[in-house]
Every structure is written in C-alpha cells, then in structure tokens.
Symmetry: D2
C-alpha cells in the first residue's frame, strides 16, 4: 500500500519528485513475487503480460513527454514504440494486442533498464520545470496512467495464476501486498437519497480524466441504495436457486454468454465436492461468505438484481450517493453505458484517444476496488468495461426506487 505524499510540506516540484518515485516504485514492488517467466504470458486477449505493463507505462512517459519535450533525448530502443504502444493510432504502428504474449523479448531485465533510463531522464526534466509548465499536468497524467496499470497488473497476474493448473501463490497472507477480502457486515440496510437536480462531473482543480469533465445537471428521482455490497452468501443463494439457468433473469446476450462459456459461478470459483472454493492471491481457499462477491460480469450483476427484484444504480445515482456510501473494495457495475457527457471534448492528437474512442458497447463502473491504487479514484471517476468481462475486482450494489 502506498503512503500518500504530503503536498503541504513540500514544494510542488519536490512533491512531484516524491510522487513520481513512489508511484514508479510501487509498480515494481507489485512485481516482487514474480519470476521472469511470469512476466511473459497472455492467457486471454484482455490480459497483458506484466512485462508489457512495465514497458507500456514507461513508453507513455517516453513517447508523450520526453520525446517532444526533453532536448537531445535518445530513444532507449526505437523498436519499443512498436512493442509498447497500446492503442494510439496517432503514435504509429504497433503489434496486435493478441500478440503481446508471444514476445519473449525484450527480457525482463531489458524492460527494467528501460524503466531506469526513462526515469532518470524524466527526473532530469522535472528538475528543470517551471511551476506553471504545462508538462506538470502531462506528468500527472502519466502517473495516473501508471496507477491504472498497477490495478491491471494485479488483475492480470491473478488471471495468469488463477488459470494455471498449479495455482501459484502470489502472497502468503492476504494483505501482504494486496488485501482482497475487505469483510463487510452482511446487511440489507438501505440509504435513501433525495431526489432533485444534481451537478454531475468533476469539480475543482485537482486531476481528473477528460471523460469526467463538463459538469452538467442531471435530475435524479429519490431512490434507495444498499448500504453494503452483495456478499458471497447472497450470491450463493442465487446460484442455489438455479439463477444461472433461469433465462428470465438474463439479458439475451448475457444468457448466450452463460451457455457458450458454461458459466455457473463467478470467475475463479471451482467446485470441490459439494462445496465451492475460489482462487485467491494466497491460493485456493474456501469462499468467505461475508466478503463481497467479486469477479462477476455486468450480465451476472444484472441477473442477480433481477432475481432480487431490484436494479443496479445509474452512474449518476452512484456518484450522488457517494456522499453517504463509501466504496468497499469492488468496482460496482452501474446500469449506465459509457457515453460522452454532453459537453465532452476530446484532446487533440494521441491523448485524445485516451478515453473518448471507447465510448460504445461498454458499461460504467463506479467506486474503486481493493486493487485500485490509493488516491486514484473519486466519485466522478468513470471506469468502464465490456459487459462480459470479470477479471477485474467487480461486485454488485443494488438500488431500488422508493
């Protein structure tokens, strides 16, 4: 877990130095339990090899900050642009996403050297910056980007280990590096949220992504939100009630997904005789009944809500309720599609590709997960994934009309 640097006692440049080092180091700290072989594989297209995350976050700084702004900077390796560009059409050709796991080279040590090389030049650059330099914002974007990949790094290595027949252990005890099991009191309490017009979107001057900008009014009718997340205990009732077999609970595409992939439980759950166990970062363990259910798709969250006769909140409702209800270790699927805010404007050039071009066929998730880096999320944060994906730490919070 990262310590939050103290902005007050340091000047802004020293603060940035500090923050830069801590965030960059945290990424490699997350990799400490891995062997070189673990950095390479990509069992599904959504999962990237850990080595690729290490390289891509570094390339982001190199390509968007050092190359255009640091005079005399020499590329560490000119082929790395091809290897570590994720999806920026404006940044040139790149390998197919599905080929990331076919690359044994560059070796881990080469990628770590790449990180050192870029860090060193970035620290040089930071040292020369004026307090009002526009690069400060760009570096902050690079750090936020790195934090997003820290979360992906965790979820991706969980997928890599959780789908290996040897089920390797990432940490001896829950919480050594990541705490997966924030135990919640199983409650059916609701918080009532008043109706009215609310301002939606990021307020203030602190960092946010472009997709949160454009504060706008949204009318929300009074509703009630569950105070706590749905637990494994409740989800087991859904399973035992044959929820996965009852087509009336499911979206049509969701039920096709269930049948095609023979889904009978959340990701990482396995039958062991009469019981269910699940893969965790500490190995195969019994289901913790009072922990929030995790690794469910939007389809499962929606079907569960149907089964309960309730519904998922919209992203606006969840943003508004965040004043009363904290997030609790799981990204919460909302019933809002990921679409532009009315005043959304995407940036020019490559960075305009960061968020805007994904605004179709994905659902918004609110809150934060146990794998989210501290300070990374906020009420206006809009996470988004396709509805069938569930390798993130995703959970369910129910809402009902009053």
């Amino acid at each position: 877990m990262q310590e939050k640097p103290d902005y007050q006692t340091l000047g802004p440049i020293d603060y940035l130095f500090n923050r830069f080092r801590k965030i960059r180091n945290y990424t490699t700290k997350l990799c400490a339990p891995l062997a070189p072989e673990d950095f390479v594989v990509q069992p599904i297209v959504d999962v990237s090899p850990p080595k690729w995350h290490l390289g891509h976050t570094t390339w982001f700084f190199e390509n968007f900050i050092l190359v255009p702004n640091h005079k005399g900077y020499k590329l560490f390796n000119k082929r790395y642009n091809y290897i570590f560009n994720s999806y920026y059409e404006n940044a040139g050709d790149r390998i197919l996403r599905s080929n990331r796991g076919n690359l044994s080279r560059p070796l881990l040590k080469d990628v770590l050297d790449y990180r050192k090389h870029v860090d060193q030049h970035l620290v040089e650059l930071i040292g020369k910056l004026d307090l009002d330099s526009p690069l400060l914002g760009l570096i902050e974007l690079g750090l936020q980007h790195e934090q997003q990949h820290q979360e992906l790094l965790i979820t991706d290595l969980k997928y890599i280990f959780g789908n290996n027949p040897l089920f390797p252990v990432y940490q001896e005890n829950d919480g050594d590096i990541i705490s997966e099991f924030s135990r919640e009191t199983c409650s059916t309490n609701y918080e009532k949220i008043d109706g009215g017009i609310y301002q939606i979107g990021h307020q203030g001057n602190s960092f946010c992504y472009d997709n949160e900008l454009g504060i706008h009014d949204v009318y929300i009718k009074e509703f009630s939100s569950r105070a706590t997340l749905i637990t494994n205990r409740e989800f087991l009732e859904f399973i035992n009630d044959k929820g996965y077999e009852n087509h009336n609970l499911w979206l049509s595409e969701g039920f096709e997904w269930v049948k095609k992939h023979n889904i009978t439980a959340p990701e990482y759950w396995f039958r062991k005789g009469e019981n269910w166990v699940n893969y965790t970062l500490t190995g195969i363990k019994p289901i913790v009944l009072d922990a929030p259910v995790c690794h469910v798709s939007y389809y499962e969250a929606d079907a569960f809500a149907q089964w309960k006769g309730e519904r998922l909140a919209t992203e606006f409702e969840r943003e508004v309720s965040s004043k009363k209800i904290d997030s609790a270790g799981r990204w919460e699927w909302t019933n809002s599609a990921y679409l532009p805010y009315p005043g959304f404007k995407k940036a020019d050039g490559a960075l305009g590709e960061y968020n805007g071009k994904f605004m179709v066929n994905q659902m918004v998730l609110k809150g934060a997960s146990t794998a989210t880096s501290i300070g990374h999320s906020r009420p206006s944060y809009r996470n988004f994934f396709h509805p069938q994906l569930r390798w993130q730490y995703t959970g369910i919070r129910l809402t009902k009309n009053n």
Copy 2:
C-alpha cells in the same frame, strides 16, 4: 401505403376488425412483387427470409392469443412453433436464427394457408370479445408487432435484392409501394430547444411498448437541433475529405469495423467510374444529392458528427425536440444506449422477452423511416439496433450545445 381506419365512426370491435384486416393485408401486399424464390433466402443473419416474417407474425397471434384463449383451437402445424418462434425462450425450442434461410419448406403457399387459418380463427375470436377484454390489448400488440415486421420485410428484401448480382427491381417507380426518397431541402438551420426538466416516456392511454413506460423527469440543457437531416451531398463531402480513413473521427470499435469490412460508403453505394450510384427499390440509380443520407451505421453517424464538430442528440433531447421537428423518412441514431427507464418493469412470461432482454450493447434510434408503417411510431418510441447495423433506413441528424 395504408389508409388510417376511422376509429370515431366505428365501434371499437368493428374498428379492430377493420384494423386487423388492413394490417394483415398490408403485409401480403408488400410481398406482391416477390416470386416464391425471393421468400426463402437469408444472406446475413440479421435479415430474415420474407416467408419467415409471414409465418412468424402469424405464429405470434396463434401462440400468444389463440392457443391460450380460443377454446378448441387446433394448431395448424405443431412443427411451426419450432420454425417460427423467433427468440422467446418461454415458448420452447426453436431453430437457430442463422438457419432460417436454410428452410425451403414450408412452402410459400403453406405459409399463406397458415395465415388464412389463423386470421379466420382470430376473426372468430374477436367477434366474441367483450369491450373490456384484456385480449384487445394483446391483439393490438400483435398488430404493432406485425407492423414492426412490415418494416423489416422491406429492409430485408432490399438487402436480398441489393446484394444479388442481378439487382432485381422491387417497384417500377419510387412510391409505387414504398417511397424511399423524401427529398429534404438541404438546410443548415437549427431549432433551439429550451433547457429544463421534461417528462420522458409515453403519456396517455394509447398503445405503446413496455420500454416506453414509466414517465420520468429528465433535465435537459438548452441545445439546438438541425432542422433537417444530413443529405447525401453533405455525406459525400465527408467521403471526399477521406472521413473513412481518418481514425481520429472514429470510435475504436467503429474504425475496426471500417477496416475489417473495408467500408468506404453507406450500404448499397457502389462506385461507377468516378461516380457513386446506389441500389434502390427501383434498381441501381444515381445518388440523389438532396435526399437524406441513408443506410449508415451508428459508427458512421458518430464519425460524421465528429467531422462536423457537432454531436448526435440523446434520445431524451430527440423526444423533446419532436414538438418542433418532424421525422423525415430516416431513423435517427441517437447517442443514447438502449437501457431500461428507471421504472421499467417487464411483463411476466414470454411477452416479457419482447423488449427488455435486449437492453445492452444497442443504441436507441428515434423518429421513423420511410418504411415504417403509418401510425406505428411516436415521439416516445424507442427503436434500437447494434451500432454496426445499417440495413435499416437509418440517417443522421446533428445537434449542438448552445
């Protein structure tokens, strides 16, 4: 084109008789230019064979109205449930959608006999109904359902003919059966719509689908809507400006779609030397520059809006603007995903599958098209399709913030 029956001068049962006959007859009238062979094929999975539409709409009446309500009714053919059930899990097994075009039998004449058989029994049933029978609503649903399939029948046969190397002619002159080319004055006028809280959803007691129910307040900021649809002339400018090649205009999944299918123009457009021509129901014809552009996907509509620096309206904005702006022969892609209204409740049983289970990964379209049966659409009507589809009469209307 259908004549609208006069509700005032007839009693409600006679009105229903009249309406039933007219709508059922209009379906077969649309098929008049077809030969038996034309009723059979399914060139893509989204297109159904005309014969299947004739049978499915009939099965809808048989299965949901006659079987449970008409004592002593005997199924015309018990295998037809398997053949003509579209997607109702509650109504039992059915052939794979992609196999509809593999069925040479039942023959057209058998399907026409099926229609007669069901019509006859339905007329009998209508004759016995009380004025307050709940079946009246169900029959109306069957008629609305038939009207939806009338539009699909037209778009599907256009696809069947427009992808045949012989390019058969459906009607000699535009307007003989369907009028495709409502010519709009090419204008760049905007209508300003005031901001405020609006009631969204179907009002009154007339027919609507369940997905329009649950009137709810939505706050809308002042905006301006184009008074007319985008024309072929304007869309050609987009093409000539290499709009299809400029990834910065496109959603990521949209640009992948463009590249994978090598899309360079709307559906049915073909290069002929230096010019573009397009397939119409009257055959291959030059592009009518002042007609509204047609057969574009959501991806193309969105990319065009990006190119213009404007945007698509939300479904709420379009519903509100319908007081000032008529629809003009094209379904208008909105920038709203097809999701349940806050108070959406789906019906019990099979009819609950009519709309609700499709509420993911699709976009809402508003208005109506030249192929929409008269009286079928309304401002609260929510049409929906996946963003890549474009065999419907879909067009573009732009909106901008003030």
Copy 3:
C-alpha cells in the same frame, strides 16, 4: 433411370444428339418433385442449391463450348458467368461458394430458359460438326460433368430435405425416381485377389477423366476383399459397442470431428426412443438392417475397420478387385489419398482445373452409388471427397491381408 442409347444402330452424331437430350432431360426430371423454394437453399457450404446445379451445368456448355466455338453466339445473360462459374479461376470472377444460397434470382424459370437457350444452340452446333471434330470430346466432357451434377443434385436435395424440421418427401416409394435401398445379403464372405503387378488406370478409347490417365504398373500383394458391403446391422453393433466413444479406434482428426459435432451415428440417423430411424427420400423410416450402411465419413469407415481388425482397401486394390466384385450402391472409401498418377498431365487452361487442383487432403472413393447416373462410373473412376464429408451415398467395404 436412364435408358442407355444404342450406339450401334445410330451414327455417331445422332447418337450424340440422343445422348445429349437424354442426359439434359434427366437432370430436369430429377427436379420434378421440387417446388421453386426448394431450388434456392444451401444449408451447408458443400451443398449447392438445385437451381445452381441447373445453371452451372448449362454455363459449362455455354462457356467452354458455345462461346469459343459457335459463331455469333450471344450470352444469355452476361452476369451468369459470375453466378454460375464454380471454381474456374481461368474463367473469371465468381461469387463465393458460400453465397450460392443467398441468391433468390435468377428465378427457376429464368434458369430453365437459360437451359433451353443453351440446349438449342448446342443442338445447332452439334448438327454442324464433323465426325472428327475435337468438340465431340468436349461435349462428352460436358455430359459427364452434367452426370456428376445429377448425383450432387440428388445428394444435395436429400440434405436440404433431411435437415428440414418438416422432413419433406421427395418420392412416394423407393425407386420411383431413385432407389436408395439396394438390399445386400449380409455376408462375411471374402474374395481372394492374387498378388502381382497390375496395370492401373483407364484403358481403351472410351471417355475418362484426366485423373485416370497414365496407365502405370502397381505391385499388389495378395489380399481378400469382403464380397458385400457392411450393413446397417453390423454398423449398429459398432454403435452399441460404444465405437464412437473409443478414441483408440479413431484417427486423431476424426475423433476431434466426432467430439466437435457430437457425432453418434451416420448422417440422417435419429434416435426415436430406444430405436434409430433415418431420413430417406421417402421420409423418416426405420433402419433397414440388411441394407448397406450409408452416409458415413472416411473417419467412420476407418474407425469401423479398426474395430473389426481389418482395413479399407487402397484404390489400386479396389480397382483390381472390380473384376470379381461389383459395386453395390455406395461409394466405397479407400485408404488412398487423392494424388496424381505418376504420369498425370493436366490440360491447359480452365479445363486443367477440373480435377488436378484438388489433389491434396482428399480421399479416393471407388465404385458408384445408387445416385450415380448409369454408365457414369467405371473401375478406374476416381471419386474424391474430404474425409469428414458424408452427405454422399458413401459406404464401407473391408479388406484384409492374407
């Protein structure tokens, strides 16, 4: 069933007139039980719509004989080359094979007109030919080609009907048009064939395909061939002994095919309670135990042979044994891959594509089937199909080493 024309009593030109008319008419006679809708569909890529067979065989005469040789001949429709070319790269662009079933046009009547048009001009041309004209051989090739498509027409319409949930009847009684059930005495007699060097390939001056040419010596060791084909009775024993589940009997790609497609019996067999029934051209019927098993793939034939501890013959063994053993209504899978004879030479131009370019990944079948036109096959005939295909009338004959 065709009558064999009498070559002796007619001159060669009259004989050809006669033969041309009879063969062309037999094709349309086979279509007599079909309605226009039946001519259109293509349920799998290997099956062509009957209408396409009618057009393609006609195109073969038009394109290879009339166009280059009949002065002043005008194409019936210049788009037909695109529609009815099967696989001749030298004859220009053509629709994708998988799209043949998407074409409702040309209508059946247009294709019949096309046949008349071409027949008429061909008869004119025949009337002008010299006795030594090279066109005589080309016309004979067109007729042999038509006979091949007569067999495909039957197997294709059987597939179309046998995969329709209504299981339409093609003929009232077996033998009305096609006799499917040549009943064989179930025997386990063997015919011993002496070892030695044999001449393989077509001998004499009568018609044969290019792939039969190049007589060459093959040394064959003494072997014994079953005198009769494997019956349904014997194949049922294989099924009941769990032959489809015993991987040790199967080729690896065969067992993958079994699992992927959930194969548990020959094509057209269906479980009815405890029993098996099968679709025949006279409808769904009980299995005739003493009839030769039919509609099995090479994989099934090979697995059955493994189960019996015997083997399939090579194409050379089968050619040699044809002096003692007749074919009996089923094409017999051999254990020979379809490869060129040592002296194989393909013709120049398009007709060189007739056979030679398919000489990989297919297995040779010998004999003839109940659907083979009379006089079409001969001992040196080399039929060939991919090992997983079974919509032809394919059966099993076993061989063993002495």
Copy 4:
C-alpha cells in the same frame, strides 16, 4: 553436434547409459542461449514453448517407463501429467494444445529439477535391467522421441525469435550450435533410378518407428531425381516470375492459403528495399543464393515443381533413391500422403497413439534436416506434416519421369 557413442567398445547397458546421458544433455545444451522468458511463449499453435519440450520429453520417460516399471517411484508432481501430456488420450486429461503458452509455471528451474529427478531414477532403473529386458526398447523409444523434440525445439525457438520484432540472435556464427547453411553446388544434374520392384520399409533389427514396419514390395518405374536440392537462386526466379500469383501452378487449397495469408516468399523472408533478407539463427541476413531453399510448405514445393514442369518424388521413390542421393539439410516434401503401410499394426495402449492416429491429411517428408539429431533419420524414416506448415527446415527436390 553430438558425438556418436561407440557401441562396439561398450557393453549394451553402458552404451545405453552413455547414449541416455548424451541425448538428454544435448537437449539442455540446445537451450543454453535462452533466457527464462524464452522458454514460455507459443506464438502459433504448432510451436510449443521450449519449457514444454523439456517437460514433455521427461514426462514421456516418467509416464511410460518409470511409473509402470520402477517400483516405489513417486511422481515428481502429479499435476505434471496434465501439463506435459501431449496427445495421449490413454494417458488422461491434458491442457489444450493452444494453452501451452499460457503457463508461466512450472518455472524453468522446476522443469530442470523434474528432468534431474527423472534422469536419476531412470539411471537407477537402467542399472538393474537385464540384457533382454523389453524396457531397453522402450528407453530407446524415449530417446528417439527426445531427438524428435530436439529438432522441434530448434524450429520452435527459431519461430519464436524470427517473429519477434527484435529478431534476437540465437548463435553468433552459423554452426556454433546449429549449421543452417549447408551450401550445395547449384546443379541441374539428375540421377537415374532404375525401375523394378523394391522392398519398402525398415529392414534389420535397429530401431525404427512402427510406421516404418511391414516391409512390402512396391513397383517403381524408372525415374530421374535431381542430384541436389532447389536453391534460393532458383526459388527467387519463381518469385520473380510471379509464381505466387499464377493460380494455374497451385493446388486449390494452396492458392487459398496464399491469398488468405498473403504469402509472397518462404517463411522468414522479408523485403528490404529491392532485396530479400531472411531471419536466421544468427539474425537477419541476406539470402544465400546457393543454399537450398528452406521453410517452404508442401503447397509451395508443389507449385514450384509445376512451374518447372517436373514433380515431387513419391516417398517410395525417395526411399529407393537414397542409395544414390544423400539428404542435404532439408526435409524433402514428397508427393505421398501419410498413410499406413499395408501391414501396419499399431501398438496397444498409449504408445499406439505415437504415429498411427495422424495418418490423414498430412504429407510424408523424407531425408533429414540440418536440425535433425545425428543418427535419428534413415531412408525408411517417414516424417509427416500438414501441407501448409513451413516452420520446419523443409526444402524441395524435384523428380521427373524418363
């Protein structure tokens, strides 16, 4: 390169000790240039991760020799059976072949420990064997199997490196470990081989695979074989003559393969301006014009032969010509499908799956390649691959009829 152990001066058990150690050590020696990351990836399904080869060859000894024959032997890790079983249905469940590259664990060092563990117990077992033990033959099979995987190890790591944008170097100089460029004199000399009856199949008591057994007579007509392999120089002429674009040279499935994968040259060839270069184990290098062409598919070999007006030899012709013509560093595609010899009998149980179940849809290759372990091949050796594969060291030798 391995030294051949001297059978004469050692007793048979010592000889086996020696041979066992040398062959097992050679496998790890081939891996010396690799980093742990290189052992993990599987860029195409045909290529296995080097780590998997190390484990699978070890599992073969453990599963087929130690477990049934070495009393008290404890499995190194009982999950390894699932991970390292390749295709033996009789040996239980196993991971999908396409998932081999998704496994970061077991780590390289675990696999090396596994090798040590199994080697140690096998050496113990060998020490106890009688001279007439049937295990001697089984151990020899394990060693031959290991040699096959040595060749696959080389071709697979070449594919892994040759498809990495960094093009890593495996050896500094050709011949350090593997010699890829046996330079042949470019000649068009032919060797004439007399016609007659030849005995085909393995003769004598030395080791061979079951697919070589069953000596049988084959009649061969006089023919002439090229004395040398086709060189890059000759293959370039084919390319420059637009051989890849001329459909008349290609098998139909071959030309589809060319178009689908946009094939324009052998595997590992890249355009560099006007010239071609190719990836070799020493990095990207110019084409050596006088070296034998390498990494071509059967389709390319056959098309080249068509272009030359000659043909590929049958496997029988090549076996017979091996008395006059040596192999020269490339596996030679023959024009024979991989099918059982007339008297082929597969072994009982799992080892019966070694060869027999692959006898369909593959072509025989004769000779040996530069990557074949010394002493592994012989004239009766039957290598086999699907016709589109070309990551092996495959080349072309032409034959013609006299």
